[in-house]
């Protein structure tokens, strides 16, 4: 009945929650399954036996193109971006103590959209969009930081200012969409729904490096975050320094979300739902960072798989699918909570 712990002599002891470990392994397996399916299904799919050579760069011909250009980059970007969104959402929800907290509501994703639109207006082609998204997200966060009058220390104020910044960003985006030709407008609108189409290995490097750097930073704060769940006063009383922690956590969360948005566009709902689903599965409190990241990765990869293999003539951006999944799940979540009487 005690807490299981991983011990190594006297200098290492980490608590381990068996249920969480099992679910993490299951998600890892799930990601691998989805990855394999993404590469093998469909008319252009690589045969299962030829998969290893294709990944290792040893095959030539159509398999190489399918992996190198068409599906490989988008898959790797999707997994890392999903992880970034999931972790970012978990951090936001914990630090705001609000299950609806996510980088979307503070204007980050709309800022990214506006940045992408602005760059798309100034330079034609697809390439400027991710760079624009990055600049836009940072600009939006700067506006929020200035607008609240006290930086990032009050999530409630961030939310309200974020609504204002979002509205302006979205109005700008809509305006740009009317000013450009139909072709370019469609490309822009597609990116703005969150799309993994035409991703490159460069994008993959960006997002994987970002996650590799920021996720461990986030993990370092997770014990203090656990305490902050009990309220700032209680956390401070236990020595957690909630004010400083909150500042760092918000920065890391913004960093992760910005990285994700710059390579995948403003994908809806992953940041909102992945942490909630992870929490429901593990039935434990705490930020559940690793699990939220794994869940986000799996969800995004799955959504992208469905988008690619969908029977519709036109491939929809993955963001549409995540919005539907997310919306339905959120609805179920709310109804379930109301039956329990906790809302």
């Amino acid at each position: 009945m005690s807490v299981t712990a991983l011990r190594a002599g006297d200098w290492l002891s980490l608590p381990v929650r068996p249920r969480s470990v099992i679910i993490a392994c299951a998600l890892a397996v799930g990601i691998i399954v989805v990855a394999v399916l993404s590469l093998t299904l469909g008319r252009l799919g690589i045969a299962l036996g030829d998969l290893a050579p294709a990944i290792l760069g040893q095959s030539t011909g159509p398999d190489a193109i399918v992996f190198e250009v068409l599906r490989g980059p988008r898959l790797t970007v999707g997994i890392a971006a999903g992880a970034a969104f999931g972790a970012s959402g978990a951090l936001f929800q914990t630090v705001t103590r609000n299950p609806l907290g996510s980088p979307d509501v503070i204007g980050l994703t709309s800022g990214a959209a506006a940045g992408a639109a602005a760059f798309g207006l100034l330079w034609t082609g697809i390439l400027p969009l991710p760079a624009g998204a990055l600049v836009g997200a940072l600009a939006a966060m700067a506006l929020v930081w200035l607008g609240t009058g006290r930086g990032f220390s009050s999530p409630a104020r961030m939310l309200l200012v974020g609504i204002g910044v979002s509205a302006m960003a979205l109005a700008f985006v809509q305006y740009v969409i009317t000013r450009v030709g139909l072709q370019q407008a469609t490309v822009l609108a597609s990116f703005l729904s969150g799309s993994l189409a035409s991703r490159t290995w460069g994008d993959a490097v960006i997002i994987w490096v970002s996650v590799a750097v920021l996720l461990p930073c986030a993990l370092l704060t997770s014990r203090r975050l656990q305490l902050m769940e009990m309220g700032d006063e209680q956390a401070d009383a236990l020595g957690a320094r909630s004010g400083a922690t909150r500042g760092w956590v918000v920065l890391i969360a913004i960093g992760l979300a910005t990285a994700g948005v710059s390579v995948a566009g403003p994908v809806a709902f992953i940041a909102l739902t992945a942490p909630q689903i992870a929490r429901r599965l593990t039935r434990s409190a705490g930020p559940n960072l690793v699990l939220s990241a794994l869940m986000g990765a799996w969800l995004l990869a799955l959504a992208d798989l469905l988008t690619q293999q969908s029977p519709f003539a036109v491939q929809l951006p993955v963001g549409v699918l995540t919005a539907v999944i997310g919306g339905i799940y959120l609805g179920y979540l709310l109804v379930a909570q109301w039956k329990k009487g906790t809302v």
Partner: protein, 273 residues
């Protein structure tokens, strides 16, 4: 890895490990306590009372360093409390705020375990010492059977016991409790107060803010009466609590009689003429 010990230690036990000097406390420039000094007697059960908005909770927060004073200092072991690292303070001083938030879907055991944070490091996150502390805390508060239940499912009295268990798991000698009985029904109020009394008898120093004058009189070894941000009386309840004081501070005409059970002062409101 131990944080700074109390600097300038002189020989001999200080009479008050926790004290405040010239405190000026405010929320956003709205001054609640203009100038207050107090010494918390070691090994005592100090209870702070006073009318609404007199600053008693504010004082407690300042004493536990969760509220930074505008002026003045809080002294822990003779040194200003902000010279210590926050975790070091938490190893000596524990506080339970008024409305602690229980995270969703947390079990009792997990909640109590969080009280061990001040003793844990990056690599040493769950030692056998932690294990022992949590088990002990659960036993002290008679919550061992509740260990695997969700905190959200517990009754008010059970939940408060569990929060006290978390505070106990910190293994601090100084316990600060902000209105630990406020939302409980009468039986549970006394249950919690008896628990506090037992913890006090085991050698800890307790400081609590209470609303109920009679409960405060019964359990306190040191009663602190506040009004409008100042201490108007301090000392043994039997000496401090007089009808004149109650009328002056609370505006309630009353008579003080000895409590038939405990012998401590019992405030009985006068019937208006």
């Amino acid at each position: 890895m131990e944080a700074s010990a109390s600097p300038g230690g002189h020989g001999g036990q200080p009479r008050s490990r926790l004290a405040a000097l010239g405190l000026r406390l405010a929320y956003d420039h709205r001054v609640v306590v203009p100038d207050l000094s107090v010494e918390i007697p070691d090994g005592g059960f100090t209870i702070i009372v006073g009318p609404n908005a007199c600053g008693k909770s504010t004082l407690l927060k300042a004493l536990s360093r969760t509220l930074k004073p505008e002026a003045g200092t809080v002294l822990l072991e003779g040194a200003p409390i902000d010279t210590y690292r926050s975790k070091a303070v938490a190893r000596q001083l524990a506080m339970l705020p008024q409305s602690p938030i229980a995270p969703e879907s947390i079990t009792v055991r997990d909640l109590v375990a969080r009280g061990r944070y001040p003793h844990q490091g990056l690599l040493r996150q769950w030692t056998s010492a932690d294990e022992v502390a949590v088990t002990g805390a659960l036993e002290s508060t008679a919550s061992t059977e509740l260990a695997d239940r969700y905190v959200a499912e517990l009754s008010g009295g059970q939940r408060q016991r569990v929060w006290i268990a978390m505070v106990l798991a910190q293994q601090a000698d100084l316990l600060l409790l902000d209105e630990p009985t406020t939302f409980l029904d009468i039986a549970h109020q006394y249950e919690v107060l008896e628990l506090c009394s037992r913890l006090h008898a085991e050698g800890r120093t307790l400081v609590a803010v209470l609303h109920d004058l009679n409960q405060a009189a019964r359990y306190a070894t040191n009663l602190v009466v506040m009004k409008a941000g100042r201490i108007v009386a301090e000392g043994d309840p039997r000496e401090v609590l007089t009808a004149e004081l109650v009328e002056d501070v609370f505006g309630l005409p009353c008579v003080i009689i000895p409590d038939p059970e405990a012998g401590t002062p019992l405030v009985v409101a006068k019937v208006p003429a």
